[in-house]
């Protein structure tokens, strides 16, 4: 046998060796899957894009009225309460929707997984993209909101991509954990919506994390969303908005841990997906 550039060897445990190269080779499939998800998402909905405006805006209004007006929670720095809430809605919506989408992505594509080869991470990664489209739309809404209040963010807004990356890493890390577990244990699909619902209240979305007593801040930051949301507020609200360094570092560390262990677990069980799905 001559060796050719396309030679492929299949052996037990061998699939791992060209994993990352394959992931790159299948990038076109990644684009197409993301494109499909976006097309499908906006196709049969009456107000289409409207949904990605409607949900965060209504949530923001409710939180502002309840926490800002009735409970009289403090805002951060001199930002209007609604702007502070909306600055948190951005990453929250992104992570919540991406997490749900990714957890379901493997099961939703059962047909493809049992009939064709491709690195399974492609499907989970492309599920992130829909969330990003919604995120961009919400970002425009935030801009309008800031303009309405004549609130001008400072240079820190330039660091947004970093925090966006952190949000994506959180969603992706947790998402692939759930996606892989979902293949084997079907009740994961009940766990994720519950977690997302609970997360909205235990994460500092409707209020500033500064109302959490200082001695509890580190413990509070065990929730990686605390780091993500604090980061977004720090970057968007500028001025007096503070970042709790210790807590933030802990959140980042935990996100990294979730992502790393998620990848490890996913790759370990990925080879058996077609057998058990």
């Amino acid at each position: 046998m001559n060796t050719s550039p396309n030679r492929l060897i299949i052996e037990a445990g061998r699939t791992e060796r060209h994993y990352w190269k394959d992931l790159w080779r299948y990038r076109e499939l990644f684009y197409f899957l993301a494109w499909r998800d976006i097309l499908v998402r906006y196709k049969q909905t009456v107000i289409g894009v409207g949904w990605s405006l409607f949900r965060p805006v209504i949530t923001m209004v409710v939180f502002t009225v309840i926490f800002g007006r009735f409970a009289k929670f403090p805002t951060e720095g001199n930002a209007p309460y609604s702007v502070m809430v909306f600055a948190a809605m951005l990453p929250w919506q992104l992570v919540a929707s991406a997490l749900s989408e990714i957890s379901n992505s493997l099961l939703a594509n059962t047909g493809m997984i049992s009939k064709i080869y491709f690195p399974r991470l492609t499907i989970t990664a492309s599920s992130l993209i829909v969330g990003l489209v919604d995120f961009s739309i919400s970002f425009v809404v935030l801009g309008l909101l800031m303009a309405w209040y004549r609130f001008i963010p400072d240079w820190r807004i330039l660091t947004i991509p970093l925090f966006l990356l952190l949000a994506l890493a959180t969603a992706f890390g947790a998402g692939i954990w759930f996606a892989a577990l979902n293949v084997r244990y079907r009740d994961v699909r009940y766990v994720v919506p519950f977690l997302v619902q609970l997360g909205l209240y235990i994460s500092p979305v409707g209020f500033s994390s500064s109302i959490v007593p200082e001695k509890w801040r580190l413990l509070y930051s065990i929730n990686p969303m605390v780091g993500v949301i604090d980061g977004f507020r720090w970057a968007l609200l500028g001025g007096e908005s503070q970042l709790n360094e210790g807590g933030f570092a802990l959140s980042v560390l935990l996100t990294a841990l979730i992502l790393w262990s998620g990848l490890k677990y996913f790759r370990k069980v990925e080879r058996t997906f077609a057998d058990v799905i």
Binding site: M1, N2, T3, S4, N6, R7, L8, I9, I10, E11, A12, G13, T15, E28, L29, Y31, F32, L33, W35, R36, L39, V40, K43, Q44, N109, G111, M112, I113, S114, K115, I116, Y117, F118, L181, V183, R184, Y185, R186, D187, V188, V191, R271, T272, A274, D275, V276, I277
Partner: protein, 431 residues
């Protein structure tokens, strides 16, 4: 010629859980089981945990879908993979196309592989035909530019031009399959792996697909083709590999292996053979049926009969009282209860007197007469003009494959209850 596929000692083991009806478990069960184990360990901290396996072994069983399979395929060969359900064909294809991993063994593939285990993998019902062409192409491993280049060709092949911008959920199943196959047919891999996809679509389109696959093979590309349709395998492939219970049973020239497959399908039961003891046999005062058998080559009973060989229907019966003028009528019925033919042994029995004893009468159905179909055997006993002894009834069925007598190069089932081999002439006017 180069070897492009080399399979060495390939095995695939599955664990079958007897307790569960599905492969997946619920998280709740897993947690309860784990915590039960844990509590046990807490309660008996000094008991060795080695004799407490993680999974209850009594509920799982090892099952080898493939056991030590080895073969080589050279460039440009068209190889059929045949075998009964559960023989390991699909598992082999799944390993070859990297969907699942082997437990043991090694495969070396030289060249770009495309596998077509299903038509329309990744099709999304909400998307239009046009969008699905691109999506499906990407799923099958085509680059975007490649799809763009072949787009018109794909559309022409699929014959759905008018509905390109309609969501495929509004397509008829025929259109859906045509579009899906059209995309797949325009893949240009060096090695093409195809599973039973030709079982879909109408006869005309199947013909087109077979033609396209043949074309692919003639371009020097290697084709692996799994099918239950022996006609298609014979037609498309030059060589065949037969699997049985996960092992390689035969690997040779296609005709030999297909014949072996058809004749290996020996089966007992009500297909091809039926027997009666003294009690419960269809009988009357004078006679009693003992058995009916449908026999292929070597006077054996098969589950599938080869239409290119004669088929004998053997009827055995007991005569209890002396009898004169009896005849046996054999009718063959198609699955939609149309009588294919009826025939009797009257002319050879005549007015002969039958003394008590066991008799056998055999009707020979010539080769190249029956179609690819299932036939039911109806047997009737009577004395013409006098009385009915045993009213005609369908006692058993048998299946025929391999008919090519209709003269087509393709071996799809042709209409009609028969596919007799007839003589054709071809006259060309030279003036």
């Amino acid at each position: 010629m180069n070897t492009v596929i080399q399979v060495e000692g390939l095995s695939k083991k599955y664990l079958i859980a007897h307790q569960q009806t599905d492969n997946y478990q619920t998280l709740r069960d897993a947690i309860t089981r784990k915590s039960r184990d844990w509590c046990k360990r807490l309660a008996h901290p000094f008991r060795a945990s080695a004799n407490q396996p993680l999974m209850d072994l009594s509920t799982t069983e090892e099952f080898f879908a493939l056991k030590d399979v080895s073969f080589e395929i050279k460039q440009g060969e068209r190889v059929g993979i045949i075998g009964r359900n559960g023989a390991g064909k699909s598992t082999l294809l799944k390993i070859l196309s990297r969907i699942t991993e082997p437990t043991k063994g090694r495969i070396t593939l030289d060249g770009r592989v495309a596998s077509l285990l299903e038509v329309g993998t990744g099709f999304h019902p909400e998307l239009t035909g046009r969008e699905n062409i691109f999506l499906n192409g990407a799923v099958l491993g085509m680059a975007r530019l490649e799809i763009k280049r072949k787009f018109d060709e794909i559309v022409a092949f699929s014959e759905v031009e008018k509905f390109l911008d309609t969501p495929v959920k509004r397509y008829s199943s025929g259109m859906y399959v045509r579009l899906a196959f059209a995309v797949a047919a325009h893949l240009e891999p060096e090695i093409l792996i195809v599973d039973e996809v030709l079982a879909v679509g109408d006869a005309q389109f199947q013909k087109k697909c077979l033609g396209k696959m043949k074309e692919v093979g003639q371009e020097g590309r290697t084709v692996l083709f799994v099918s239950h349709n022996m006609g298609a395998v014979r037609n498309l492939c030059s060589r065949a590999i037969m699997l049985g219970n996960g092992t390689l049973v035969a690997d040779a020239e296609v005709g030999t292996v297909v014949d072996q497959y058809l004749s290996s399908n020996q089966q007992t039961g009500n297909i091809g053979e039926v027997r009666w003891e003294e009690n419960g046999a269809p009988s009357c005062e004078e006679i009693s049926l003992r058995g009916i058998r449908v026999l292929g080559p070597g006077s054996n009973v098969y589950s599938i009969y080869n239409s290119t060989k004669p088929i004998d229907v053997e009827i055995q019966f007991l005569v209890k009282k002396p009898l004169r003028g009896m005849r046996v009528i054999l009718s063959l019925l198609t699955s939609d209860s149309v009588v294919a033919f009826a025939s009797t042994n009257h002319s050879i029995i005549g007015e002969q007197e039958l003394n008590p004893g066991i008799y056998k009468t055999i009707c020979r159905i010539p080769a190249d007469l029956l179609n690819n179909a299932e036939y039911a055997v109806n047997v009737h006993f009577g004395i013409p003009g006098a009385k009915v002894l045993i009213q005609g009834k369908e006692y058993l069925t048998f299946t025929v494959e391999g008919a090519g007598g209709h003269g087509s190069n393709y071996s799809e089932k042709w209409p009609g209850v028969f596919a007799p081999k007839l003589t054709w002439e071809w006259v060309e006017k030279t003036c």
